[in-house]
Symmetry: C2
Subunit: 339 residues, 2 copies
């Protein structure tokens, strides 16, 4: 399977690490083998090698701060458009950062790739946030995979669980904690930090998005709520439909007061199917300890599917991380392999 990376930050590097580590195992158990044929980055150039790049060399070069133009192998400055149109890639991996305004340029890349007969796997929330139904239909019509497991809760398989493992159930509600940064901040505040202190610690650990408002003001959680509503509940929800409130209004007094009441403040996403559509809300909620979501602490994520046939089914796991999100991409690649 020939892979082309658009964006080569944490997720792309994490995936490469996994692929190198598990090369033999993936071939033995899943008949999966790969070749990295192209990489395009925003600030470090791009490279294309029909015969495949050496993954270890690529990883070391980038991690040492190298520019792709100085890589020994491959054709340099082969742009994204050329990679999509004129490379021998089978799969385009859209692993760049989410744009919350209109999802571009990722959406244009995804559309072009699917139209060119290439599978797409993405951890970028833009494409499914703005055009989920278009891209999943385009993929279906062209017998391709449009994989987006990595857009929600990193590699914790919530999308696959909903679509494959709960097939035949109607999901009536999804309630959960799916922004790890705010959950980390709120957990830190429970140990006595101020909001600012907790935020600084989150930033120090690299949890905060480039645009901090994406986390703190609930944009990231809103995007994931929309992706879940539209992809696994069949909704047609847009940003303006979501009632959104971030955690900036939660102060240390409120957090310690909640603890005295055996409760915890959490940024909760809540998607409810109604007779007329969906009610979607992202807001801080004071959850009693007995609520299963109150046990999701630090950077962990978790959600509860309310279904017609099974009642509540909960899943929790990592919400972020280089290897964890890299794995989400691998899991979609294995879906392509077994198409």
């Amino acid at each position: 399977m020939n892979l082309a990376f658009i964006g080569y930050g944490n997720v792309g590097q994490g995936l490469t690490e996994i692929l190198l580590l598990k090369q033999q195992e993936l071939e033995d158990y899943y008949g999966f083998s790969f070749s990295i044929v192209a990489v395009a980055t925003l600030h470090k150039g791009s490279v294309y090698a029909e015969e495949g790049l050496d993954g270890g060399t690529l990883l070391n070069h980038i991690r040492a701060g190298g520019h792709l133009s100085t890589l020994t192998q491959g054709i340099k400055d082969f742009g994204v458009h050329d990679i999509i149109k004129n490379s021998n890639a089978d799969v385009i991996l859209e692993l760049s950062y989410t744009d919350f305004k209109d999802g571009e340029p990722a959406c244009a890349y995804v559309r072009e790739a699917l139209n060119c007969g290439k599978h797409v796997v993405t951890s970028n929330k833009g494409p499914s946030l703005f055009h989920h139904h278009e891209f999943s239909k385009l993929a279906r019509d062209n017998h391709l995979v449009y994989g987006f497991e990595g857009t929600v809760m990193s590699g914790t398989p919530v999308v696959k669980t909903a679509l494959k493992c709960l097939a035949g159930c109607r999901i009536d509600r999804i309630r959960g904690i799916w922004n790890g940064t705010t959950n980390f901040i709120l957990s830190e505040m429970e140990s006595g930090c101020s909001f600012q202190g907790a935020f600084d610690e989150a930033r120090r650990r690299g949890y905060v998005e480039a645009d901090a408002a994406a986390d703190v003001d609930g944009w990231d959680a809103t995007a994931k709520a929309i992706i879940l509503a539209n992809s696994v509940m069949g909704g047609h929800v847009t940003i303006s439909d979501v009632v959104r409130e971030g955690i900036a209004g939660i102060d240390a007094t409120m957090v310690s007061q909640a603890l005295q009441e055996q409760s915890r403040w959490k940024l909760v996403g809540d998607i409810i199917r109604t007779n007329h559509g969906f009610n979607v809300q992202v807001s801080p909620v004071k959850l009693p300890y007995a609520d299963p979501l109150a046990q999701i602490n630090g950077t962990a994520n978790g959600l509860i599917f309310e279904t017609d046939l099974l009642g509540s089914v909960s899943i929790s796991g990592p919400g972020a991380g280089r290897i964890q999100t890299g794995y989400a991409i691998l899991s979609d690649l294995l879906t392509i392999k077994h198409l």
Copy 2:
């Protein structure tokens, strides 16, 4: 898809209810349509109708205490062997009770069905408890499905999550609560019941297996531990490898003492991959409230997969129930449909 039922108790009836309720939806969304061509029971006879039985009539007849010999439609006394060998069934549903000694006669039925080119879906723990690798290989070699989602945690999709959604991860440990009856008894004891009082309440509600020791002495949990070890972790574990202890030794004093220590007694299954194989244990463990498994109360079930790439991923949901286990069967039928 032509279905033949072996055993027509709660699970078979639950599945029939779902199929009747969702007939149109299953056809529209999954292209799935079905015909019930045969039913064989232990005490109420058997019936075969090549053209398909009316599901509603069958369900009402059985629920009114009727014998299959008095059903208007179909050939009567068409035995299990004939159903497997000489019917037009595509799928054999093995939904009879688990035999913990050798899994018979279910294992013989499953083997014969797979050898005859028929898919098998089962909620009976016997086949995977005693011959998991044989049956999954036989199915693979014959391009058939051997579905056993319903053997562990009813319709909560633990088997599919492990096999499909965590593909590419190595599962190093599974720790969980997967016997609803004992969990219900322990939860009742926390509200002040004696062991006997809680047990009687569980029996009154229909939670206790025909053979009460299967639950209380940990046999049911042991069977599920073995199925998980062998099916999703690639083990070759047998009953004699499991360190097993039931909940009969847990008395009211221990339960209330634990609560004072912010802990709960739970019957915990624990499967650990080692360098030499697997350590498998089923035993009562006093879990502090902070342990995610301590929050699994009543008849609910839950487990934690420890994986190499994602760390901990937890899933919880119903552990039993007519509709819930019926759904497990449906989910395997949808796998067959999309083979």
